[in-house]
Amino acid sequence: MPQPLLEVEDLTVHFPTEDGLVKAVDGISFSIQQGETLGIVGESGSGKSVSFLTVMGLVNQKQAHITGSVRFQGQDLLTIPAEELRTIRGAKMSMIFQDPMTSLHPFYKVGQQIAEAIRTHQPVGKAEAWDQAVDMLGRVGIPRPEERAKQYPHEFSGGMRQRAMIAMALSLNPDLLIADEPTTALDVTVQAQILDLIDRLKSEFNAAVAIITHDLGVVAEHCDNIQVMYAGRIVEAGDTNDIYYKSHHPYTWGLLRSIPRLDSATNERLKPIQGSPPSLINVPSGCPFHPRCPYVMDVCKVERPPLNPADGHHASACHLTLTDKQRIFSEEVLVHR
């Protein structure tokens, strides 16, 4: 196996606050290979965004207690000096965010902002950086990029702004692109365009992509592997087929059963997950999902289940036996389909 591009091991990120210690990320381990597309699915409070903000160094030791290791191309990003991390951030690894309207500076032209990214990492002059910026805008499908580069973000539509963000993130040919809820703020038809764009550019730029979202539909078509997060932990990880057609975790089942599907009959009753999302300060003991789990056993309240690989790379953090998991899935979740 070639060395993974990104290897995260036992990462924890705890924020000290007035109300207590917020355990935003509570011991996660995963890896991303070169050229892979990984989907990270979870609701608010699952820790999906914080994990990658920590990988990028946007959450640092000054703000939170961070333990574990984040190895990117062999280097542990948590131990290298900030200066060095900055040369990686934006160049070898870049990130786009949910709302492109607020994520771009309103006072600077779009071309300027992209050129700034380029000049931060490469010794090129203003004119050349500008030309590269215009070129990138063209490559993400923005028509008449020379004119558009001279405009301000508020003159762009929502979809175009997101394209511009993508252009900026890819301008230095990174090996990893992290997209944090890239389509949530966009209209449905534009969402599809952006996801297709990311697919196309991924192969053009030969980059690995991490898509963070709460929408199980968004990752279905565009990801190789998926990990499901809950209360700061990874509860299930596997490839797309595993998650949708063979999942092994009650939370994943709960998600699949509770989202309305286009192909199900109208008014077929949804089966919601009982209860509410957990507090990250007072995380439930043992398995954090146990208060809401329909299959809870005594051991679940006491012992934290490890992320066990079942068939090779398909892992789930649950005390149920493999046989039970397979049985429950085929009887109760598959039937819903």
Partner: protein, 353 residues
């Protein structure tokens, strides 16, 4: 010779019943002004541009569309929160288009609304007991000493703990706040509830709870819903019939099942192929209709069929010259298109014509 096309409903168990709400030719424009000293109107935002719609008692009518399609504006026009620029609105057979003052207030007890943002739509300075009970004070339908028990009954109905009567909104989670909104809407036992994106701001695991709650309440109280959302999966799940809107007009109207299996309007087809599906094989089995460009602005709608600049199968000159009417395609299905999609056009494996 012009043919008046009127909205007809598909055969329903209670066919022959009068529609609860009937909209005819409803338009809502917002003026765009410009000027140095005196602002004069230079144009209009055509938020709703000629909508005929019937809503039958007991049904859930879904309104779906993207930014600028006018669904939220239409909802507010139905609720008489906006005055329509043109057209008529009938409620239970009565023309309510121009009601004002006391009569309008009386109408409010029959029509209520649930809003999108559970964090913004509740007054943070009032207890939830007073929020839910406010309609009773306003309309004087319940004696003062009976308000609290009535409100607590409502709270239980929507899944809230009645002991939390005196708590404030910030003490509740998003899902619970939305339940408070539902309770408030139910207080006067309205006939119609307009739900404007009621679950969009909620986490996925909570959305299902609220959708189930709305379903249960509809059965128990024989409510009629107009359900607005941009998420087609959610709309299809709750609605009996769906109206797809684009730039202020209804472009297709049919049942959810028909819409999914057999859309006739290219925009519906595009929407269906764009909606994320939590099933990789099913998602890949769709025929993709990818639209170019962005959703246009309703200030200067395109000529003829409003969809023609983005339509993958527009044919000229007809599509840019003539505005299509909402015409029957199959029983119970209406689409406004000169060249509607072939049957089963969104399924891969079937050869398109």
């Amino acid at each position: 010779m012009s043919v008046e096309v009127t909205e007809q409903s598909p055969p329903r168990p209670d066919a022959g019943k009068q529609p609860l709400v009937r909209l005819s030719g409803v338009k809502k424009f917002f003026p765009v002004t410009q000027g140095i000293l005196f602002q004069h109107r230079i144009g209009d935002v055509h938020a709703v541009d000629g909508v005929d719609l019937d809503v039958y008692p007991g049904e859930t009518l879904g309104l779906v569309g993207e930014t600028g399609c006018g669904k939220s504006t239409l909802a507010r026009v139905i609720m008489r929160l906006y005055d329509s620029t043109a057209g008529t609105i009938e409620f239970q057979g009565r023309d309510v288009t121009h009601l004002k003052g006391k009569e309008l207030r009386a109408l409010r007890s029959d029509m209520q609304m649930i809003f999108q943002d559970p964090y913004a739509s509740l007054n943070p300075r009032k207890t939830i007991g007073s929020i839910i009970g406010a309609p009773y004070l306003l309309h004087k339908t319940v004696a003062k000493d009976k308000i609290k028990p009535t409100v607590q009954e409502l709270m239980e109905l929507v899944g809230l703990n009645p002991e939390h009567y005196n708590r404030f909104p910030h003490e509740f989670s998003g899902g619970q706040r939305q339940r408070i909104g539902v309770a408030r809407a139910l207080a006067l036992k309205p006939k119609l509830i307009v739900c404007d994106e009621p679950v969009s701001a909620l986490d996925v695991s909570i959305q299902a709870q609220i959708l189930n709650l709305l379903e249960d309440l509809q059965a128990e109280f024989k409510l009629t819903y107009v359900f607005i959302a941009h998420d087609l999966s959610v709309v299809k799940h709750v609605s009996d019939r769906i109206a797809v809107m684009y730039l202020g007009k209804i472009v297709e109207m049919t049942t959810g099942g028909t819409l999914y299996e057999n859309p006739k309007h290219p925009y519906s087809g595009a929407l269906l192929s764009a909606v994320p599906i939590a099933d990789p094989e099913l998602a890949r089995a769709r025929r993709r209709i990818i639209l170019e460009g962005d959703v246009p602005s309703p200030i200067d709608p395109p000529s003829g069929c409003r969809f023609h600049p983005r339509c993958p199968q527009a044919q000229f000159p007809r599509c840019s010259a003539e505005e299509p009417q909402l015409l029957p395609q199959h029983p119970g299905q209406f689409a406004a298109c000169h060249f509607p999609l072939e049957d089963r056009a969104t399924v891969v494996g079937d050869t398109p014509a």
